[in-house]
Symmetry: C2
Subunit: 319 residues, 2 copies
């Protein structure tokens, strides 16, 4: 949530001269995204976000993410569009960092999504999955089973500092997930991190889906499981069934969910809860020096995990 | 350079309902100002900055700053305008913090001001001083002699960690400044912190003067001395006489500088250098926990101070 790399006005003007975007009228660092530096740029022609990718971003993966955004935008999804310079290049180097100018999207992210907004999300997620089917590139989900195992190992010794018994709960759950993790479900390009802060709304209409930097190829229903975790629990981390029902129903209306996917949903939800439990646990135990933001509490996702574990019938998500 | 207080969308919408500013279309935390939380807000009507005043701001002084901005804006200075709600109130409480919605100003701050931009600054500074003459409120400059003495005391024991001999240099200089500090020069409302990052330009035209939170009542020529320090030294902290000449000339063209003010200029410049040397030294020795930004090097201002000390004739600033 900060600007790590400063772009001075001369550097900015030289950079913009490579594009057909007009001249800078306003330029403000914005507190968006945890990992990169972002500027909101207004030019004489339009508005843009300028992103500088900081050290946690793998430069080799950036073309995948930019191509994905471009593909989705071209296929009707309100994704930011990477802007190409006069020579056709989108990925640049600026102030020593990989950088990209992308289109600005209006809208405000919601902190307490309503059922109506969950319905809009379900429709958008399904449309995004359909649009992703024609995207020809692929990228492994490095925050699936193998990634969880690696994070579990890295946090094992200190997990019990956060909650007694947490390390062994994680070990057991990962063993269970490994044994039962679904195979053969419809797969494709997923967002994999579609939290409310990555969706922009005007009222109940979605005007933007942003932050595709966890985008990857995985089971489509896993993306739905991420959304159930991220959108359908209240501030006390209790499940909100009506929210989930609207989300799943509208997803299904736009991309019919198979019986196998429904059956797998509780397990996928446990996996998604595990993913955020583990990354939050790791960040909690390894705070970034100088970070302004307090790490998010991993136990919010332990509570979700326990909820999903006691689900006997997938229909409980869609009652 | 961060957002310390989060404003969720429901809180924002309830807040905006008190105003005649339309509804939120976009809302982004911006990395502006070191001390407060700032959001760039676009509504169906216009664009605004929403500022939440964090703990370093003294709530009792906020009405002065807001009234000053309103006065300057009404008198032709491109200052942000505090927006009044439907009941006429500008200063609010939001998310537990004092807060104010202010008008958004276009323009980009320059990192390496040109001579032309220094000329524009001189004219604007003089106009701001003239507009400030009819502002009836006053506020003591708490970062003048008494403030320096207090900061010198607080940093004395550790100043030599930054540069050997620094503590005694500061003591001597403050003694000299105390003895010779000008009296009876034209006084009025000054900005007192008019660095390049507080001025917005479109090309060579100033479109905004911002961050009035050090505004106070003091000698007008002291404000000019701050600008000489902040705008007329290069990246290696060497004086750029042509920049200073343009700045002072254009100031003089808009508000004639008296002979007494010219004579006092070297001393005022030493004082201004001391002010930034001391606040930077204090921040350097007392880094804010969790701050993203590296404190600025106090020695940049020691170099400026030494330059001003060897000035024999005020005319050297305006050659």
């Amino acid at each position: 949530m900060a600007v790590y790399t400063k772009v001075d006005d001369q550097t900015l003007n030289a950079f913009l001269a490579n594009y057909d975007v007009g001249e800078a009228v306003s330029f403000k660092g914005i507190a968006e995204g945890v990992e990169n530096s972002n500027y909101l740029l207004e030019t004489t022609k339009s508005r843009y976000i300028l992103t500088l990718y900081e050290k946690r971003a793998n430069p080799e993966e950036l073309p995948y993410f930019l191509n994905l955004m471009e593909h989705l935008e071209a296929n009707g999804i309100p994704s930011p569009l990477p802007i190409r310079d006069k020579t056709g290049k989108a990925l640049q180097k600026l102030a020593g960092k990989p950088a990209c100018l992308i289109s600005f999207l209006s809208g405000v992210s919601v902190d307490y999504p309503t059922e109506m907004q969950c319905a809009a999300l379900g429709a958008m997620l399904a449309e995004m999955h359909k649009a992703g089917q024609s995207f020809t590139e692929s990228r492994a989900n490095d925050l699936s089973l193998d990634g969880w195992k690696s994070l579990a190992k890295k946090t094992q010794n200190r997990a019990d500092e956060v909650a007694p018994g947490l390390a062994s709960e994680i070990t057991q759950e990962i063993a269970s997930l490994s044994e039962n993790w679904p195979q053969g479900l419809p797969s494709g390009t997923i967002h994999a991190d579609l939290f409310p802060d990555n969706v922009l709304f005007t009222g109940n209409s979605i005007t933007g889906v942003i932050d595709f930097y966890f985008g990857c190829t995985d089971m489509l229903a896993y993306d739905l499981a991420v959304c159930i975790n991220a959108w359908c629990f209240d501030q006390d981390h209790n499940f909100m069934p009506a929210h989930a029902k609207r989300l799943v129903e509208m997803y299904d209306a736009h991309r019919p969910i198979s019986a196998a996917e429904i059956t797998a949903l509780p397990l996928l939800c446990r996996g998604a809860a595990m993913r955020f439990l583990l990354t939050r646990l790791y960040d909690w135990l390894n705070p970034v020096e100088g970070a302004v933001v307090t790490p998010k509490n991993p136990l919010d996702y332990l509570k979700r995990l326990k909820f999903h574990q006691q689900i006997k019938d997938a229909a409980q998500y869609v009652v």
